[in-house]
């Protein structure tokens, strides 16, 4: 076995790969070899560090120095200066944008200081294509412990006690979902991993699968044991080629070591996992549509009940959990439910991964304990708004959520508090908007997305989103009247109340919430608004003669 003195970790997440980290990786290896250090220093391609804004990221261990924006040409300096002479390459260190302060170590960076990584624990730490590295950090021990010492009921109790709730957005208690599925009659049951991440700007699940695929496989086997399933399915969108490639490698390795397959850990439990590729339809993240798609049918939702736990994949009881939910399971088993329940708020335990995007300085992936405020995420971790501009709003929950404004920034984040302020947790997309963004355009952007993604099965959604989009277009082109706005409001509630699945039921949310918080911006675009007063203030006359003051 090797006796490497230094590890050079190069981020191999999709974000960094897009900014040429593959070339950095190759150059580092070539130069190391040329200098005769290939036996002392190893270069490892790892998963996402989360700091995508500053990618490609390179970390030197054990020195614990983090380099940012490393280009292929910088490989020479890293080797010649840092590795050979022990001198930190100053120009590649991260600098805080406003203060210019340099940070050598990862934990000195404000971006990492407030984070707590449970689901992302191994991302950026292990080589995702090497099962031995995962095992070295305690991987598959949770599965071994569960299979050899715990009953199915024990496992469900542990997950219930931990307070873990579904990370896909709905927030349904995971332990309860497992219990319901386990109690269904029938011998054939299935456990499905929902990796059909579709929110614009969200990439939490992709990063987990790319950076630590084994944690999801292990958790699925644990879940399979708990509910009595011997078959798992990962439903992943085909647009995630790297995640798919690493999953396939991980599956092969786990099978070779007998951690998937027949009689795992010499017990009666057998379990294997199949991958099904989705064509990238947003609605297929809805569990019944997902199951239809898995069965080879059109990806359209069904009416619930019956829930998948009763009648799912080919009519058998099926449990569908999100990628991030699964990634939390092994640490819960190993460290105990009390540990997990000690993190977070009263009703939302643990951490949540968010994909920070939009007009924020530190675009990237963050994992924070529940109960942290949006202000901390945006200003402390996210580094504030780009170009020193003013914050306007943040959209959580993707196209199903709503905007949150300055006044609610100090709300502690959990499932219930976000719903209370008119948005939702969602799967974890967080898009930040600044003062230059027009909120009607933002609403229109989301509506265009849901209109395109409506599967067409039910009328309120299929036609409603189309009409709503047309109305927004009329407003932004300056041709709409107050009567149109009234009609639009009505239509919003019709779509909400009349649609079959979550897609339609939440599609008008961006419109409703921007109308609530940024009514002025709608009014400013209305033709028959009179009495312009000062910037952003109008008095408008409704059709029935009543007036609206902004």
């Amino acid at each position: 076995m090797s006796k490497f003195r230094t590890n050079i970790m190069v981020c191999g997440g999709t974000g960094c790969l897009a900014s040429d980290s593959e070339k950095v990786f190759k150059n580092l290896k070539l130069i190391l070899k040329a200098r005769g250090y290939a036996d002392e220093v190893q270069v490892i391609k790892t998963g996402c560090f989360g700091f995508c804004e500053q990618g490609p990221i390179v970390k030197i261990e054990p020195d614990n120095v983090l380099y940012v924006r490393v280009g292929p040409k910088d490989a020479k300096d890293i080797i010649d200066e840092h590795i050979i002479k022990g001198r930190t390459v100053d120009r590649l260190l991260y600098r805080e944008p406003d203060k210019g302060k340099k940070a050598h170590k990862q934990e000195d960076m404000p971006f990492y200081k407030k984070q707590l990584r449970i689901a992302l624990r191994n991302c950026g730490l292990v080589n995702p294509e090497d099962i031995y590295e995962y095992i070295a950090l305690g991987g598959y021990e949770a599965l071994g412990k569960v299979l050899t010492t715990k009953s199915q009921k024990d496992v469900i109790d542990i997950v219930k006690k931990s307070g873990l709730r579904g990370r896909g957005g709905g927030g349904f208690p995971t332990g309860l979902k497992w219990e319901i599925t386990s109690k269904q009659p029938g011998k054939t049951k299935f456990i499905i991993c929902n990796a059909d991440e579709g929110d614009p700007g969200a990439f939490m699940d992709r990063s987990i699968l790319e950076g630590d695929p084994h944690s999801v496989l292990e958790a699925m086997a644990i879940g399979g044991y708990a509910i009595g399933a011997d078959k798992g399915i990962i439903y992943i969108r085909a647009e995630y080629p790297l995640a798919i490639q690493r999953l396939n490698i991980a599956l092969k390795q786990a099978r070779e070591m007998g951690l998937l397959g027949e009689n795992i850990f010499n017990t009666d439990f057998s379990f294997d996992i199949d991958i099904k590729y989705g064509a990238g339809a947003f609605v297929c993240g809805e569990e019944t549509a997902l199951i239809n798609s898995c069965e080879g049918k059109r990806g359209e939702p069904n009416y619930k009940p019956p829930y998948p736990a009763e009648k799912g994949y080919f009519g058998h009881p099926t449990c569908v959990n999100n990628v991030e939910t699964f990634a939390n399971i092994p640490p819960i088993i190993l460290k105990g439910p009390q540990w997990f329940a000690s993190i977070g708020t009263e009703k939302s335990k643990g951490t949540k991964v968010f994909a920070l995007a939009g007009k924020i300085n530190n675009v990237g992936l963050v994992e924070v304990p529940m109960g942290i405020t949006l202000r901390e995420i945006i200003y402390d971790i996210g580094g504030g708004i780009q170009g020193g501009r003013k914050f306007k709003a943040v959209q959580t929950g993707g196209p199903s959520g709503g905007v949150i404004t300055e006044e609610d920034l100090d709300t502690p984040i959990d499932y219930d508090s976000l719903t209370a302020i008119g948005s939702m947790m969602g799967s974890g997309g967080m898009i930040v908007m600044d003062e230059t963004d027009n909120m009607v355009d933002i609403a229109k952007f989301y509506l265009e997305f849901t209109m395109d993604e409506s599967c067409g099965r039910c009328t309120p959604c299929r036609i409603g989103t189309k009409r709503l989009y047309e109305m927004l277009n009329k407003i932004t082109s300056g041709k709409a009247t107050m009567a149109d706005i009234d009609a639009m409001k009505q239509l919003c509630y019709m779509i909400k109340d009349g649609s079959l699945c979550g897609l339609g039921q939440t599609a008008p949310n961006p419109v409703i919430s921007t109308m609530k918080h940024f009514w002025n911006e709608y009014l400013a675009l209305i033709k028959d608004v009179d009495n312009y007063q000062e910037e952003g203030r109008y008095i408008a006359t409704n059709k029935d003669g009543t007036t609206i003051r902004s």
Partner: protein, 130 residues
């Protein structure tokens, strides 16, 4: 190879630890020890690279998981290269000069494992550090 029991898995874990030992894990280890090896031009020409690798090998052999070996730049004691500084949390850093061959073993045995600095190898630093 198929894993047949939790014990077997733990054995594989033990054998694989070397792969990830160099990296920072989530768990903070209070009694972490740092060994800084001067790897500037003068250090390298006096054999610092061999010294560093010897430390790495010795530490691996002795399974000292809380010790990190880090290459650093020149500290100005070119006459006594290779120089090695040992940082033990809560204690004053100790600087050694002319660390080569058997002296690596001596520092590991007496200072790192025994907690007692090797007096005859110490370079007395007589400047203030900012």
């Amino acid at each position: 190879m198929k894993v047949k029991s939790l014990e077997e898995l733990k054995k594989i874990r033990e054998e694989s630890m070397d792969k990830v030992n160099l990296r920072e894990h989530g768990e903070i280890n209070e009694d972490k020890i740092e060994i800084l090896v001067g790897m500037a031009t003068c250090g390298i020409s006096s054999g610092a690279r061999e010294t560093l690798n010897e430390f790495v090998e010795e530490i691996k052999k002795e399974k000292l998981n809380n010790v990190k070996v880090i290459p650093v730049g020149c500290i100005g004691y070119c006459h006594s290269e290779p120089t090695v500084q040992v940082n033990i949390s809560g204690e004053k850093p100790v600087l050694y000069g002319n660390v080569k061959g058997k002296r690596v073993h001596e520092i590991i045995e007496k200072h790192i494992k025994g907690g007692k600095p090797v007096e005859n190898l110490i370079l007395h630093v007589d400047f203030e550090r900012a």
